[in-house]
């Protein structure tokens, strides 16, 4: 097998970046960590991507262009087996970058279930220090623990935002917790997690407040990455809404990469719930979006916000069953199709109207 060309880069996705950077470095790679996508990144990506590719492809294209310009020789990315387009993005990105004259390799993680040897070899490529399997397992476990802690902190932030007494306290506490956890070393991690928790718990809240609860469903990248959805969770939090996100990176990885490799289907409840409206796996997160909307009442949600990239195939299908679902189950649903043209003011206005409508509905219902 040819040796991996260094340094390596990878896509930008929220909390994963510091953890993945650390993990790749520990395994002996030179890393060019991706930076948070900016307007420039998006413009770069849009100008060299197909017009009707979904927004994540364009943002990733921009990110990769920036990485390559900063010297990355290999991009580590994830694959997929369809029918969502995202599974073909790595080979397409590679083809586009090469046709633009950049000499860059791609190392793609396909779901282990389809070929354990291929997965093993992919990991092996990144194992520049030639560590033993147990050692790698240890490192993965440690990275996983960090990711879990970061997800927990973020969940706590969503709970705190609408309840904080002083605007901005929750976000400040979260940033402190985030920095504490990501900068912790191995021996210090347990202590860091405890401190992060304590920091978040010390935010002063109004215990009597009963905020609206809105579920966020949709396509994984625009849900998880605030740079792609104009920070919609913060907008909602600032409107006094508790955000309940349907997916976190650790939960998703567990359901779709780890359990799946063991032959267990993850997220069964949600998929079962979706069946009445959408009785077919259509790739991406189409079925999950529908399932979460069906379960909204059961989970005590007042409404659902669906986030989808413009032209996203699975989310278009799920959006088209949402109207009926919303009428049948009395769950208000608002869908945002997001792309590079989406403006903050427009999103804010629609969100405010939605939240007003929900709080009114709640008052009348009581």
């Amino acid at each position: 097998m040819p040796k991996l060309r260094q340094p390596v880069g990878f896509p930008y996705l929220g909390t994963v970046v510091p953890v993945a950077t650390e993990l790749l470095k520990v395994l002996g790679n030179e890393v060019v960590p991706p930076t948070r996508p900016t307007r420039r990144t998006i413009n770069l990506g849009v100008s060299s991507s197909p017009e009707f590719a979904c927004f994540p492809l364009k943002i990733l294209m921009g990110t990769y262009l920036e990485l390559v310009q900063r010297g990355a020789a290999t991009i580590v990315a994830t694959g997929g087996v369809g029918p969502c387009r995202a599974g073909l993005y790595a080979p397409l990105h590679e083809k586009m970058l090469r046709s633009m004259g950049y000499d860059v390799d791609f190392l793609v993680f396909e779901p282990p279930r389809y070929s354990y040897t291929a997965f093993y070899n992919t990991v092996g490529q990144l194992n520049a220090c030639n560590y033993s399997v147990p050692r790698i397992w240890q490192e993965l476990k440690y990275a996983w623990k960090k990711l879990l802690a970061l997800d927990e902190a973020e969940k706590r932030l969503h709970w705190l935002r609408p309840r904080e007494l002083k605007r901005g306290d929750a976000d400040r506490a979260y940033h402190a917790a985030f920095n504490r956890i990501t900068s912790a070393c191995k021996s210090d991690l347990d202590q860091a997690i405890l401190e992060a928790r304590a920091g978040l718990d010390s935010v002063e809240i109004d215990p009597g407040r009963k905020p609206l609860r809105i579920g966020i469903v949709g396509e994984i990248y625009v849900v998880l990455e605030p740079a792609s959805n104009l920070g919609i969770e913060k907008m909602l939090g600032d409107l006094g809404v508790e955000v309940v996100r349907s997916m976190f990176i650790t939960g998703w990885t567990r359901d779709n990469a780890i359990l799946d490799s063991a032959g267990i289907t993850g997220g069964v409840d949600v998929k079962k719930a979706a069946r009445r409206y959408l009785d077919q796996m259509i790739g991406g997160h189409g079925q999950e979006s529908v399932g979460h909307a069906v379960l909204a009442k059961k989970h005590g949600l007042d409404g659902i916000v669906q986030l989808a990239p413009f032209t996203c195939i699975p989310e278009i299908v799920s959006r088209s069953v949402m109207t009926r679902l919303s009428e049948d189950l009395d769950v208000p649903i608002m869908t945002f199709f997001i792309d590079e043209q989406t403006g903050e003011a427009g999103v804010k206005t629609r969100l405010e109207a939605f939240v007003d409508m929900l709080s009114r509905k709640k008052k009348i219902g009581r």
Binding site: K95, Q280, G286, V317, S320, V321
Partner: protein, 310 residues
């Protein structure tokens, strides 16, 4: 007279209609097909379907609307896969759900899942399940399937009239875009009137398609996208046509990838001119005519220049 089964003249109609028509007829049902696409059907489709969907899906909704009070049952199968390594576009996979949840009052819908990857006898099971929906038993289902499959020999319903001309231009794309003259504003007919013989994906055998190279490291996931890419690759490699036109719908998900691949590949080979023709609800006659004329003129001019030089 048995049940009246309605089949919308959209999407898979352009491949499978003769088989389905024969199948239902053998089972004693009457088959009604929606009228050819018209402005009224486009408008009905746009009204019933969500705005973000692509024009072929909107058209499908329009054709369903045109059948509503004319039929007892609607045949909207959930076509998942007919090949070992490919599925249909996710919108096809969710099509029965989209239709059922968009219309308030629908006749009964036959939405049997067709996923031939499940086993060698899956097609028999599907035929039986469909027959059961209209009250026919197993033996009649098997006989109907056998006679239906024999219609395959007579070719696709979209077979073209013979044409004469000095140029051959390939029009690649999905059957429901290339062979619906309303939605592509008569692209094939216009080419013929310009003295061009249009060649489509259907003119190549499946074996030829399968032998064409893959532009990406990975197989495309979608059946008809794979065919489109392979057909274009075949034309680029063999140079058996004078130009390639890719017909694609506004907002088509799979085509975002297909079109980019074709663009890069055509530049790489460089010998065959390539053009993308995008269609949507607002595509106008004059716009398409102008672009086709320009494309054909360009090919002719290039030829005459090359002829003078040699």
């Amino acid at each position: 007279m048995g049940l009246v089964v309605g089949i919308p003249r959209a999407l898979f109609y352009y491949r499978y209609y003769p088989i389905w028509e024969r199948f239902f007829r053998e089972l004693g049902a009457t088959v009604v097909c929606s009228p050819p696409t018209s402005r009224a059907i486009v408008d009905m489709g746009a009204r019933e379907c969500i705005a973000e969907a692509c024009i072929p899906i909107k058209l499908y909704h329009g054709h369903v609307a045109a059948l509503l009070d004319k039929v007892d049952v609607l045949f909207i199968p959930r076509l998942v896969s007919v090949r070992p390594k490919a599925v249909f576009c996710p919108k096809f996979l969710g099509l029965p759900d989209m239709v059922k949840n968009s219309f308030k009052h629908l006749p009964r819908v036959i939405d049997v899942r067709v996923d031939l990857r499940r086993g060698p006898f899956e097609l028999l099971r599907v035929a039986e399940a469909v027959a059961r929906c209209i009250g026919a038993g197993r033996s009649r289902a098997l006989y109907a399937l056998w006679s239906a499959l024999r219609t395959l020999k007579s070719g696709y319903p979209s077979a073209q009239p013979p044409a004469e001309g000095d140029l051959r231009v390939a029009v690649v794309g999905y059957p429901y875009e290339v062979h619906d003259p309303y939605v592509n504003v008569g692209t094939l007919e216009k080419l013929r009137s310009l003295g061009v013989v249009p060649v489509t994906v259907e003119d190549l055998s499946q074996r030829t398609l399968n032998s064409a190279p893959n532009p990406l490291r990975k197989h495309l996931f979608w059946t008809w996208s794979e065919d489109t890419v392979h057909a274009a690759e075949y034309f680029f490699q063999t140079k058996s046509v004078d130009g390639v036109i890719h017909v694609t719908a506004f907002g088509c998900g799979p085509d975002a990838i297909v079109n980019k691949c074709l663009e890069i590949e055509s530049k790489k080979t460089g010998a065959v001119p390539f053009m993308t023709l995008m269609i949507d609800e607002h595509t106008g006659d004059a716009g398409v005519r102008t672009r086709l004329e320009a494309f054909v003129d360009m090919i002719r001019r290039q030829r005459s220049v090359a002829g003078c030089r040699s």
